[in-house]
């Protein structure tokens, strides 16, 4: 992957700002506590939680890349996957089998979505497809809760969820976040290898580049869409497992889609690495702002800060950091 020079420049500048602004805030205001180990603790915590956002954003990217559909249902898919997993596990099925069954159900779901929805909306405008995915989101939210109930469920995978001390006990990091980051990296590497070296991966890339050209060399578009939605469903399952064991499996999981959207536009709709780097930038920026800036303006800024941050980046790169350059012809 080659990185354009101005993208690199923007990232450098933003990293610099992430250090300078908290430091200045710490110097200027009495309320704000600033010390280097504390700063790094916050920054690392932010980066790690950013990885969790990336996990959700990844599902969006996969589908947008291969079919140009802005899949608002990704959050609902995360919730549905997690609910299914916990539901199956609660019936007394061992965890490894439950995960396989949940994966299987996500594949079935992908097939159903392709057959019942997407197939009938080929060639429609993007906004119509977007609307259809919101319909899917509503349906899945209702469906999952109708079957598995709406009470908060606990998903315990045995991942340690207590703070650990690193660097001579100076920096406190949650072990769970480290594991999550590790799993996310494995997932991204696996996806990258899948896209790069398998036959299906090549077909996916071809479809992403040009639907018609792909069709004309004999790539079955409908299959590819099913596969992409299935892969997005699997990514959703992983995200559901991680978020579910962190927050408990409940309806609010569907809302993390709203957290993933700024990550998505910052990184660019069409870029897998963009989703990761976007997640890291948003995660760190959000946490740093929450700790070092929020006391000055009243707190509770996590709802919108990520969006404003993404907006600031878009002012310089309208297609996101790693998105394909938008070329318009008259």
């Amino acid at each position: 992957m080659k990185i354009e020079r101005d993208v690199l420049f923007i990232i450098m500048v933003s990293l610099l700002l992430m250090v300078i602004i908290p430091w200045t805030a710490g110097q200027l205001s009495e309320e704000i506590f600033f010390e280097w180990p504390f700063f790094f603790e916050v920054a690392i915590g932010g980066l790690l939680s950013g990885v969790m956002y990336s996990l959700v954003a990844l599902g969006f990217v996969l589908i947008f890349k291969a079919s140009g559909v802005f899949n608002f249902a990704q959050g609902a898919m995360v919730l549905f996957a997690a609910l299914t997993l916990v539901g199956i596990h609660d019936m007394g099925v061992p965890m490894w089998l439950a995960i396989i069954l949940a994966l299987f159900i996500m594949v079935l779901l992908a097939i159903a979505i392709e057959k019942l929805v997407l197939r009938h909306l080929v060639n429609q405008e993007q906004i119509i497809l977007f609307m259809a995915t919101i319909g899917i989101a509503y349906f899945l939210d209702g469906f999952g809760q109708t079957i598995w109930g709406s009470e908060v469920k606990i998903l315990d995978l045995g991942i340690p969820n207590e703070p650990g001390f690193y660097f001579d006990g100076k920096i406190l990091i949650n072990d769970f976040d480290l594991v999550a980051a590790l799993i996310a990296s494995v997932l991204v590497i696996a996806l990258a290898l899948f896209f790069q070296y398998t036959r299906i991966g090549r077909a996916l890339r071809a479809v992403a580049d040009d639907h018609q050209a792909a069709l004309s060399v004999g790539i079955p578009l409908q299959h590819i869409w099913t596969i992409v939605w299935a892969v997005a469903g699997m990514v959703g399952l992983v995200a559901g497992i991680m978020w579910g064991s962190k927050l408990g499996v409940q309806f609010s999981l569907a809302l993390i889609a709203l957290k993933a959207l700024p990550v998505l536009i910052l990184g660019g709709f069409t870029s897998v690495p963009g989703a990761i780097i976007g997640g890291l930038l948003i995660g760190a920026g959000e946490k740093l702002a929450e700790v070092f800036l929020a006391p000055m303006i009243g707190g509770g800024i996590e709802d919108w800060f990520a969006y404003m941050l993404a907006l600031a980046f878009l002012a310089f790169r309208p297609q996101g950091l790693f998105g394909e350059k938008i070329i318009e012809r008259v």
Binding site: F70, L116, V117, H120, L121, Q124, E125, Q126, I127, I128, F130, M131, A132, I134, G135, I136, A137, Y138, F139, L140, D141, G142, F143, Q145, T146, S150, L258, L261, P262, L264, I265, F269, G298, G299, G300, I301, D303, W304, Y307, M308, A310, L311, L314, A315, P318, Q319, G320, I326, E328, V330
Partner: protein
């Protein structure tokens, strides 16, 4: 045979440019208005007026606003709720700061304030397009709601963060807000405002500025090349759209609910209005009304179906099933008619024109 424009000779330009050129259309519209202004307030129950007609009218207005921005000017926005909240809080601040101000002026000024906010959040649309813009408008949604929640000044430091409309009158002594207002007065007042604004919107989109918006929607670069100023046109669309959304928000807070908290205008409200214009038809004022009626009535219908069938289902299960059916119906409608109810209406009219000799 009866319903056709052939044989309708016009001798003036005014007649040629009328909104409804076919006599039957004019009669139909007159009858519709008569029903809305006379029959409904006389016959409808309080529940129908207060819980169905009022939100329908208010959300139709918001849908017209969003339709101007998304359907006519092509700028996808998810910030409708934020702009409605701005209108509501602007109206509240205006009416508490200047207690003698007429409610019509309060509505007008709150619309103008929202328009200014809309212009501010419309600026990114010059560089950001499509879904990137949609997500960017979510920034305004979340930021505005946070702002109204966070700063007590907007709610006059009320502890709960809820604003309540002071009693206000039109024509001297008819209360339209507050507890003394009769439901009929509220309904008629809202209806008049909505009809007037819808008429203005209809004329706006048929005029020069509406043509500019549509040119920008279809391809903004090409529009710029033929001499349409992109900056001014897009910002005008944002301004007019937020003006409508602001008034809708003010009506919602003052007349429909009477008291409101910022959460009433959260992101789900934005999606609800977006649903309305897509189900109703993008780029159609008529469609905004149809879509609003559909989205308001559907949940009420879904709510009552189990009781009508005599089934007893636990409440939370009903709400989940409602979600499911709602989502499925949305998808169904999109597949059957992606261009919305307005398009169905159009097709019906075209069929009617040929009837009974379809050739």
């Amino acid at each position: 045979m009866i319903y056709r424009e052939a044989g309708e000779f016009k001798s003036t330009y005014q007649a040629d440019q009328a909104i409804l050129t076919i006599p039957q259309d004019r009669w139909f519209m007159a009858a519709l208005l008569a029903i809305a202004f006379v029959v409904i307030p006389m016959s409808a129950s309080e529940y129908w007026l207060g819980a169905i007609m009022l939100p329908f009218l208010v959300l139709s207005l918001a849908a017209i606003g969003l339709n101007i921005l998304t359907g006519y000017a092509g700028q996808l926005s998810l910030g409708t709720g934020g702009f409605m909240a701005t209108g509501a809080f602007a109206a509240y601040k205006l009416s508490t700061t200047f207690p003698d101000l007429n409610i019509l002026l309060v509505l007008l000024f709150s619309g103008l304030i929202t328009a200014a906010v809309g212009i501010l959040f419309g600026i990114p649309s010059l560089r950001i397009k499509g879904f990137y813009l949609a997500v960017a408008t979510l920034a305004s949604q979340f930021f505005l709601i946070w702002m109204f929640n966070k700063f007590g000044w907007f709610t006059n430091y009320s502890a709960s963060g809820v604003i309540s409309a002071p009693p206000m009158t039109v024509f001297g002594d008819i209360y339209v807000t507050g507890t003394e207002a009769s439901i009929e007065a509220k309904y008629l007042f809202t209806l008049s405002v909505v009809v007037l604004l819808a008429l203005i919107a209809k004329n706006l989109v048929r005029s020069n500025i509406g043509r500019e918006w549509r040119a920008i929607r279809d391809m903004d670069i090409a529009a710029e090349i033929i001499g349409i100023p992109m900056l001014a046109t897009k910002l005008k669309a944002f301004a007019v759209s937020s003006f409508y959304c602001g008034i809708a928000g003010a009506l919602w807070a003052f007349i429909y609910t009477g008291s409101v908290e910022p959460l009433a205008f959260d992101v789900n409200r934005s999606f609800q209005v977006l649903f309305m214009i897509i189900i109703g038809g993008l780029g159609s004022i008529m469609g905004s009304f149809l879509g609003a009626a559909f989205i308001i009535l559907l949940p009420i219908l879904l709510n009552n179906v189990p009781t009508m069938l005599g089934l007893s289902i636990p409440v939370d299960l009903i709400s989940h099933i409602e979600f499911m059916v709602f989502g499925a119906l949305i998808i169904f409608f999109l597949i059957v008619e992606p261009h919305g109810l307005a398009r169905l209406w159009q097709i019906t009219k075209e069929k009617l024109r040929l009837w009974p000799f379809p050739y």
